[in-house]
């Protein structure tokens, strides 16, 4: 399968890339890891006139800690998250997520920022970033601006990025002590999109009750879903078995799945119930210092 012809640009700096986006307009598409874009171009689902390959821009391939945040640059690959010690120790939910995205060969190319910028509700990082309360940094002609992840996914394959902006960084606040998170995904086989996926991040108070909760759902709606009712339900509660089960039911009621090749809507809703309860139990164990 061969994509339609396009004109290729390979800017060396971020400024150059933004200027190209301004000049070429909406017929231009950014290429980073390319693991979603290139297959779509080969199937001719998209046929951009211009490709702006940002892979030659130096200094964007970082996963680093500063100012109380984990910072993930535009060209950091999934493989880097998977093998990062600070991710493994401080953000087990992120390590959970990176490990179940596509397969190792795809992850050696695919970027974390691209996983968000693609705006696909079937992608895995959106739910996790919603649970973690991440912020994305967009760089455009007027400089940088921050966008809360909860405002980033207005519709199917749509993000809050302006056409002339590039998602250049993800910022995730370090979880306070007594925090834990987990991401669980059911897939039919390695490399498949989620039948359903659930991300949970919690922090406990001194009495052991849930102080804050973030819950994100993958591939059970037109956009990644922030399960706000489930989050509100959890806050202030001791996470006993009955509460965990009820949280699962609340999350299921917040999902909006559709029948497709991966299963019926009813099946997926029930999957959200089960995965939410399991993710919550694992998050709780991790918040208490377990694995």
């Amino acid at each position: 399968m061969i994509p339609r012809s396009f004109e290729y640009f390979s800017p060396q700096t971020l400024d150059e890339a933004v200027a190209l986006l301004q000049k070429l307009g909406p017929d231009a598409k950014l290429l980073s890891g390319g693991q979603s874009l290139i297959p779509m171009m080969k199937l001719r689902l998209v046929s951009p006139e211009y490709i702006i390959d940002i892979n030659r821009i130096t200094g964007l391939d970082y996963v680093s800690e500063s100012d109380g945040h984990l910072k993930i640059g535009a060209l950091a690959r999934e493989h880097q998250l998977e093998s990062s010690e600070s991710v493994k120790t401080k953000f087990p939910i992120l390590a959970d997520t990176a490990k179940v995205i596509a397969d190792p060969l795809v992850r050696s190319q695919a970027t974390v920022c691209g996983n968000l910028a693609h705006g696909d509700p079937a992608n895995d990082h959106p739910a996790t970033m919603l649970a973690l309360g991440a912020t994305v940094v967009a760089t455009g002609p007027k400089g940088k601006r921050e966008i809360a992840i909860a405002d980033f996914f207005p519709g199917l394959f749509t993000t809050a990025l302006e056409p002339e902006e590039i998602l250049t960084e993800i910022r995730i606040p370090f979880p306070p002590p007594k925090s834990g998170g987990a991401y669980l995904k059911l897939e039919r086989k390695v490399g498949d999109f989620a039948t359903a996926g659930v991300a949970v991040q919690i922090t406990l108070d001194d009495s052991g009750a849930c102080k804050t909760a973030g819950v994100g759902l993958t591939n059970v709606g037109m956009t990644p879903i922030k399960a706000t009712q489930t989050e509100a339900f959890l806050v202030g509660k001791k996470l006993d078995e009955a509460t965990i089960q009820q949280a699962g039911e609340t999350a299921a009621s917040e999902s909006q799945p559709m029948d497709d090749i991966r299963g019926s809507a009813e099946y997926k809703r029930d999957l959200v119930r089960v995965l939410t309860a399991r993710a919550l139990s694992r998050a709780l164990a991790r918040a208490k210092g377990g694995a």
């Binding site: 399968m1 061969i2 994509p3 339609r4 012809s5 396009f6 004109e7 290729y8 390979s10 290429l31 390319g34 693991q35 290139i38 297959p39 080969k42 490709i51 390959d53 892979n55 493989h79 596509a102 397969d103 190792p104 060969l105 795809v106 050696s108 190319q109 390695v190 490399g191």
Partner: protein, 158 residues
């Protein structure tokens, strides 16, 4: 047309290509290195895996123009001076192939993986090859072949 310069198996190549040319087509049709296979052509099977600047990737899911200035190893680059690479020897000794179609991809994934971890568990190997499909389902011997190669590499075979 765009001119690219790519080092493949240690040899510099220069070619005028269309930007839409996929890396796998450049390798097979422009360079005539047909050891790299096209399987599914949809980023699933891994038959087209090559190693670029140390990282294994599916060459059906990259444009050749992205390889400009980079260094690529294909299955043809494994053997050195008539001597099989430990991975090739492993696949030979442990019967790590039946039809052989997935083998170039399995070998190239192994090259990048074992250079990062030359003392893997069987489980780690199975995860590493989860993007490479063998429809003969000969995975057990492929895992053994990786272990054979890993041991040889630990002993300084490559």
């Amino acid at each position: 047309m765009t001119t690219i310069k790519v080092k493949v198996n240690g040899v510099e190549h220069s070619a005028d290509i269309e930007p839409r040319m996929l890396l796998v087509h450049f390798i097979r049709e422009t360079l005539r290195l047909t050891g790299t296979h096209i399987g599914c052509d949809t980023s699933h099977c891994g038959a087209c895996t090559v190693v670029m600047d140390g990282r294994a990737l599916k060459s059906c899911t990259a444009f050749a123009v992205q390889a400009d200035g980079r260094s690529i190893t294909t299955v043809e680059g494994l053997e050195q001076d008539g001597k099989l690479h430990p991975l090739q020897d492993g696949f030979f000794q442990e019967h790590g192939l039946q039809c052989g179609y997935c083998t170039p991809g399995m070998l190239m994934t192994g090259l990048a993986f074992l250079s990062e971890n030359n003392n893997p568990t069987d489980d780690e190997i199975r995860h590493a090859i989860s993007g490479n499909l063998c429809r003969c389902t000969g995975y057990v011997n492929i895992v053994k072949a990786y272990q054979h190669a890993a041991q040889k590499m630990r002993e300084g075979g490559a």
